[in-house]
Amino acid sequence: MSGVETVEEARTTGRRTRRAPWLAELLRRPAGVAAGAWILVLVVSAVVSSFWTPHDPFEADPASMWQTPSGAHLFGTDGIGRDIFSYVFAASRTTVLVAVSAGLLATVVGVGLSALGSLTARWVRESMAVVIDILIAFPTILIAMLLSSILGGSLFVVVTAVGIGYGVNISRVSRAEIRRVGRTDYVLAARASGVGPAGILGRHILPNVAPVFVVQLSLAMATSILAEAGLSYLGYGASASTASWGRLLNDLQVYIAIHPGSVVWPGLAITLTVLAFNLLGDAIREVSDPRLRTASNRADRRRNHS
């Protein structure tokens, strides 16, 4: 018995000593700090804009059309006199909402598929791998268009499409890693000492593959933000009564020849946010496990523009 205890001890202490510098290491990286700071700003904007914005983001004011940036209108106004800053500020709520729900859904789908893949019989696992490889060929935007053609465009459709599309990607990326962990000595030892498949999955495999999932969660969020912006731009995302950066880009596009400056703000907001999630994903990958670098490099940006 003492042998088992030592293994167990080593596992917990090993984890403790590894976890603490994990975060500290992340905070030592300029890219990680900048990304984290921007995401914090975004979340705070989402919360604050739920209660207060400088102007009503939807209020048209014919008296102040196309104002240049000033103290009263930080980012200027658009063609119907809306305050662009208030609109961009309020749209951060949509972004956070979509990123969080799509990220969670993608993780649930990805972990679920991975778990199924490692718990079930060989033929189920292998046919699932084939199905996943086929589903990966379905770009997220096409899934969203498929759903929109029936249900009409909405944020729900965006979240579902990214959740399915990226979830499949997550399970594909984690497949190799799960297989690697499944062949390690400690899993072998656990199996030999009578731990069932579910126990091995929950106690050994998932905790060890967790960094892959965290990295993928971050990249899934980046993808969902691009997808939301793209689909809302096309008119199949946020409804007219919901502030969205993609929608604003569409509204401003008509006037680009006369007022090119106004499209800077929503575009910059999308780019910085996507960049932040990409950088955060990279930083977490680098600090969590250098071995994972090569394993997930291949697929990390797989779905970013789909």
Binding site: V130, V131, D133, I134, A137, F138, P139, T140, I141, L142, M145, L146, L147, S148, S149, I150, L151, G153, A222, L226, A229, G230, Y233, L234, G235, Y236, G246, L249, N250, Q253, I256, A257, P260, V263, P266, G267, I270, T271, L272, V274, L275, N278, L279, R293, T294, N297, R298, R301, R302, N304, H305, S306
Partner: protein, 317 residues
Amino acid sequence: MIRFVLSRLVLLVVGLAAASALIFFTLRLLTGDVAQVIAGTQGTAEQVAAIRSSLGLDRPLPVQYADWILGLLHGDLGRSIVTGSSVASQLGQKLAVTLPLAGLSLVIGLVVGIPLGVVSAIRHRRPSGTAISVVAQAIAAIPAVWGGMILIAVFAVTLKLLPTQGFPSDGWQDPARALRSILLPALTIGLIEGAVLLRFTRSATLGALNEDYVRTAASKGMTRTQAVVRHGLPNVLLSVVSVLGVQLAALLVGAVLVEQLFALPGVGRMLVSDVGVRDLPKVQGELLALTGLVLILGFVVDLVHRAVDPRLREPGE
């Protein structure tokens, strides 16, 4: 090689079958009553019934699916319920815009991404290498529509070098004019995808820098740059080929957004407007055409990768 081609071919056919089934049954099962959707909320019961029988919607689902597949095999993708025209012939017209756009974007992406990726890896300890990598990271985060707007503002509005939007109505009759119309859209997709390829090439090259063969070549008198270009580059290019299938898919999807922005009459723009008017038979055909294209391109890339990478060959080949 023949065994590999055959097994990949089987996978391609399975993939196409699965994609068609997925599109067909998702559209049917989620819709409930396609005829009702087509008729809209204003449709009377008679109109709905007429649509139902004219489209064969009163038959069992598997029969309808089999019918659609049989039609596909004869090159019949169905008919638009809005205009009544054949989906296949329209698709052909639109692909004449989308495929050149995707092809040109790919060329731009490769021309920008691979050389700069190698350079930024070789100079990874110098400011110039870091700068390239940082800029690529930022460009990869730009949403395609905004990137396109920036290019419009600079090259079309300010410099007046290229048209803002649109495509010649006579298509490729005047190739130079048509090319000018797709140049900005192709730059938009190409630069963003190029940035993604750059980062991929960079990490592959960084890996090659640590390989024994580079060290050996360097110890035999080559500079590190020479060694990487001479011995590392083939390996780097092979791993770029292996991700190209996925990048081609991204390119086609980028086309959906960019065609809308630049008002190009391609498959993507057609899909967007058909989804808007719920022309379901047409949407069904277009989605299958696009996913089919992604699957077929993936298949081709796999074959190319297999053919050019000696490591993947079976012994005795």
